[in-house]
Symmetry: C6
Subunit: 268 residues, 6 copies
């Protein structure tokens, strides 16, 4: 029948892990300040721990932060830096329209594959979407929740090592679901929060002249800055399209419009 | 069995995108005032941004406004003006009676097709209906919600560009569903809100004589006007059927009856 | 198996539209007062509008009123008076025991058929039953609700005209479901509310003698009358069975028992 | 598989209507007082009305009362007295373990069969069980409710007559479900409520001697009596098993234990 | 597939009724006091009533009491004492993991079989588990509830006699489900509630010496005793394993720990 | 189809009980204090009781405690010490992504197998995960709950002995589900709660020098200690990776960070 036809038309073509990591890192990882350095250092510590022969075989880390803060890119970067022979990405983007049971089977398969390898790293991206979290109700897939709660604590077989890197922008939801305590550790990805952070990214973008950068710096001085790296890169894209003489104004006004720049201090 | 027979009888015959856009634009886009001009200008900016090679590959815009305000026609107009080689319309009108899983598969297929094209534009019409939003409960399809939340943020493959234009008359519902933040930008479509706006449309309709128009203008002077373009065109239709000497009165009384014309100011 | 056998035994044998309209009009439309005249006039105006070549192609009217007030008969009468070549009745009586998905497919098929005809009229009878509305909960079929919300606003293809006549005795429920605003217009069918209305029907029934009618008139004078035409015709049936000398008393006492006749004013 | 085997093992063997009516009337209808006479008279009036050629073709009566009050027996008695050529019993006892959809199909089939006959009578026994009413929640089968709401109002085809007799001990539940207004009329079956009522049944039972009956009468004098006929017949059964000299005491004490006999007045 | 394999592996091997009754009576019925005598006497009365030719054909008894009070054993004992040729046990232990629909079919089959026999007795053990009662929510199987509500009141065919013995430790839950009124009678199984009751069981166990028994009696004197027979037999088991000189102390301390022995009066 | 393929790809490869017990005991059972000794002694008492020929055939023990307190390891240790010929582990780790019905069938199969053996021991690990307990709602699998409630009380066939060891970190949830009373006994596994407990484990780990241990002891003196054995072993792993001179500081700061070491007393 029709539904069957549709279904067969959509053969899930899961990208290779390599391609997926590249995609998550499409614009690289710009070192816009101390928080980026610390996070990568801490992350590498867990990578080492996961590798160590004497330790327990399982390390699971939650990488959480505001939407657009760069969580997925950082998880991908750590996965690449780990140099583990087996790396897999478990992402809701590959499971659009899956029933919760198909989702669970797919997740399980990724872990089952990992258990067969000596050194494995699994990136579980956007956990709240994997859980089908819908705020009205609220609703979520309990089947997937139960699967993750078990998999996050399940030791790989004797002699195997597994590093799990999860990302989420709904830390409080995971807490309510009693999932937070299932992680070995939690890393927080902050938004850019000072004019210096922003200027670092702008310089790296090579769009504005030295004078323009100074003008932007003057404008941001004393103001509250709070913006995710992905959003900021988007604003730079937009500024790049506008005509050169309005670029600075355009950029600054959009920053304010999007709530990234405030005259008065605000609490997130 | 019977159900199977029924189902096979109803082979979804999806119209071509071209036909669907024409249908949405059946009565053109009348420039009844400054808001129409601005909205189209802003819209074209996003079209440019979506096309630009240096930018991120994904622009998603929500076009929201009151029922009958002209959202679908404006989305269709922008899609046509974009001149993108691949344009698809994803509309609940094509999915009447679909289960939520059939709906998701159909939506997913449209996006999968788009990812295979270099420059694609998808019009997602009437999002609250796609989500099966029912105010008693409330109820909605979480499967579809999760699919849209992922698809609105999923980057097309390297080198591909995707512009997503969504329409909705339930902005506050999308907000509650945490979907609003998944859009790059939001454009608001206003109702006609001054006698001048209405007169612009009436002139364009070539139904009333100059004297009749002046009489209508006098009648509306100082009153609160608030009506969607689709509703207004309907009233003109009706007036066209009534006999010539009562046309003006008929038109004005229907305007009041439908709440489009008020002696005292009202807030929407 | 057994269920399958049962299911196949019940081949839905949908009556022809002609038969169904006749059935709805089994006892004709008695002109018991001004409200009947006005309602038919207003109704014919929408019929004209639906036919007109210049207009938008879609007119949808809700005919609502108390249970037994004659909604279905009036919808059928308008459908017949329209003289449209294609007329279909969409009634819950044809869908007893259907799953919500079978219901939706059936409804959709009726509309799909109509779109293929130039001038079509669809009578959607008893909308609250089509929606499986159950007051405890409340419960309803969201699948059917979504289908109707879309179909009530979906333009027929270019050049085709569609008139939709819906009936319901639960206007407030449709309002809560945000379905009311999907109609082009709403017509209210009132109950009989004065002794004159009742006497008109009694005369038409040719059961009582002139003296009996006068006696009934005297008895009803000054009292509150509120009864649906279908209920009233039922009471006359009953009176017809009782022996001639008690007929008047029987009729009047049953009127009171059923709440159709009150000594003191009551609000519905 | 196992379930399938079980299911096939249980071929629903619906008894003939004749057998089912006999079963419902197993202990006859004892005329224990005026309420029984009136109820049967009123009932026969509806039977006549259903038969009359001039009337509308459909009469539906709800026979409601406390548990054990004799509703099913009275419905069966009326159905037999009607002398209609087609009589069917629609009882939850034939549908134990049916899914709601199988229940609906079975109900529908009974009605479909009736529509093919000129004069039909359907006894729908124990409506609250047909509706799967469970007081915790509450829960009920909306599919069955919708089916009954439609079938109770659906006219049989032209020229056919249908009498529907429903029984229920949960009138207030039907009211909440807005089913009450779908009936043409409602008949209330009372419990026995005076010593005379009880004595009438006891005499009919031919168990007690004249002296014993007088002793029982003296004992009940001035007390509140409230018991269903089925319960009362059960107590007589029990008394019949006890040894003759304790029979009267046993009977009276059980009456009190079961709440059928009270020193002080109680409201049901 | 896997699930199918599992399912087929588990062919429900329902024990014979004889074996099941023996199992329920594994430790016999110790006459620990007057309550046991009375309960068995009352029970036999219902057995007689069920057999009597003149009576109605159906007697249904609920045997309810605290967990571990001995309900199942007493029901089995009555069933054996009835000497009915057809005896069946309907127990949740035979339906572990069954869907509610499989449960209903199994229950129904047992009753259908009984209707074919002249004198039948069905033991329905642990009704709250048959109903899948889960206190959080609460949840229960409405399908099973409806089936039981009907089967408990359904007369066997003419000339057949049926005795139904149900056990439950959640009387108040059955009450809420309106199931209590469906029984002909209710028998309450009490816990042991005086030192004499306990001593009776201890003597029967032949574990303690005369001196030990006296020491236990002295210890319990004046204290509140409240313990189920199954729990008490368990404590004796445990005491039997401990070394002889600590037996008495061990027994008494465990009694207190389990809440079966209290210094101060408590209400259950 | 795709789902089928996935499903078949994942043939559940249940480990042997031996392997599973070894896995649960991967790091042995360190005797860090009196609580460990007592718990094992008490546990062995139940093992003896389960074996005894005179006793009832069924002993079921709940081993409950905070997350990471060592419940699973202790259950496995008792199971091994029991020396029962048949030992099986029933763990959610083997049922990731199973539907509730597949879960139930798997659980049932383990018990069915056990009933065929003379002396059986079943370890049911992590009951709250078997029950699919999700705190938002809350949600749980009632099918599994009902299965466990029955299996925990079901006597093995005559002559067979069964010992059930369950673990859970949500005692209060089991209580709410009325499961607690289904166990013969409950054993509580405490966290380490004094500096001595911790030092015992550290010495056993052979990581720190004598001086380092003394420095750690000084640091913990007077502070509130509360940490699970699994967490503590994890911290030692981490300390093992850091460079020798910062090891002590690292260990102590992580202890505080994880909430295992507090300046001020806290209540769990
Ligand atoms: N320091 C940085 N940290 C993270 N991402 C960076 C950094 N510098 C540049 N990027 C780029 O910014 C983008 C971050 O987007 P990413 O999808 O990782 O954000 P996110 O927090 O996962 O968003 P979402 O909340 O939508 O999941 C990537 O394209 C990445 O290449
Ligand atoms: N300036 C305008 N803007 C939008 N639509 C216009 C304009 N001028 C004329 N139209 C016509 O008005 C109609 C607008 O209807 P449209 O379906 O787009 O409204 P909508 O807001 O999408 O309604 P709904 O809330 O029902 O989805 C179209 O037929 C369109 O051709
Ligand atoms: N003026 C009238 N208006 C409507 N119906 C009339 C009129 N005169 C006579 N009738 C007859 O009265 C009956 C009205 O019943 P109808 O089923 O239309 O009522 P309804 O409001 O749809 O009832 P329900 O609430 O049950 O759907 C029909 O048999 C119709 O032939
Ligand atoms: N006057 C009477 N009215 C009704 N039933 C009577 C009367 N006299 C004797 N009976 C007998 O009493 C019994 C009434 O039981 P019946 O099943 O009809 O009660 P019910 O109200 O339907 O019970 P339930 O609430 O369980 O459905 C029948 O066996 C019937 O033969
Ligand atoms: N007087 C007695 N009454 C009942 N059972 C007794 C008595 N004397 C000994 N026993 C034994 O005590 C045990 C009672 O257990 P039984 O399973 O019947 O209790 P229960 O109340 O059904 O428990 P549960 O609440 O778990 O269903 C049986 O093994 C039975 O043989
Ligand atoms: N005394 C001890 N008691 C328990 N476990 C110990 C002990 N000493 C060392 N261990 C080791 O500590 C670990 C305890 O982990 P285990 O999985 O049993 O904890 P748990 O309480 O079941 O955790 P969870 O709450 O995640 O189920 C095991 O690896 C075990 O070998
Ligand atoms: Mg991300
Ligand atoms: Mg629109
Ligand atoms: Mg009607
Ligand atoms: Mg009855
Ligand atoms: Mg029991
Ligand atoms: Mg554990």
């Amino acid at each position: 029948d029709f539904l069957h036809a549709l279904e067969n038309d959509i053969k899930p073509a899961f990208g290779t892990a390599q391609e997926m990591l590249e995609n998550m890192l499409s614009r690289g990882v710009i070192n816009w300040g101390q928080p980026v350095t610390s996070l990568l250092e801490d992350g590498m510590l867990y990578v080492q721990q996961a590798k160590a022969t004497e330790s327990s075989g399982l390390v699971s880390v939650l990488i959480e932060g505001a939407p657009n803060s760069g969580k997925s890119a950082l998880a991908a970067r750590l996965a690449k830096m780990s140099d583990f022979p087996f790396v897999k990405v478990c992402s809701p983007e590959d499971m659009v329209g899956f029933t919760e049971s198909a989702k669970c089977l797919h997740i399980r398969k990724i872990f089952d594959d990992a258990y067969r390898s000596t050194l494995s790293c699994i990136v579980v991206d956007n956990v709240e979407r994997l859980l089908d979290y819908g705020p009205i109700g609220p609703r979520y897939s309990n089947l997937t929740l139960q699967a993750l709660l078990v998999l996050l604590k399940k030791q790989p077989p004797k002699g195997r090592k597994l590093l799990i890197l999860c990302t989420s922008s709904r830390r409080e939801v995971l807490e309510e679901m009693e999932m937070l305590s299932a992680f070995t550790s939690v890393l927080h990805v902050p938004n850019l929060s000072s004019p210096e952070h922003v200027l670092g990214v702008l310089e790296h973008a090579e769009l504005f002249t030295r004078d323009e950068l100074m003008s932007i710096a003057r404008n941001m001085a004393g103001k509250r800055v709070y913006i995710g790296i992905k959003k900021l890169l988007g604003l730079i894209d937009m500024a790049r399209q506008s005509d050169p003489q309005h670029r600075v104004v355009k950029f600054l006004s959009k920053m304010e419009e999007e709530g990234g720049l405030d005259m008065i201090a605000r609490t997130q």
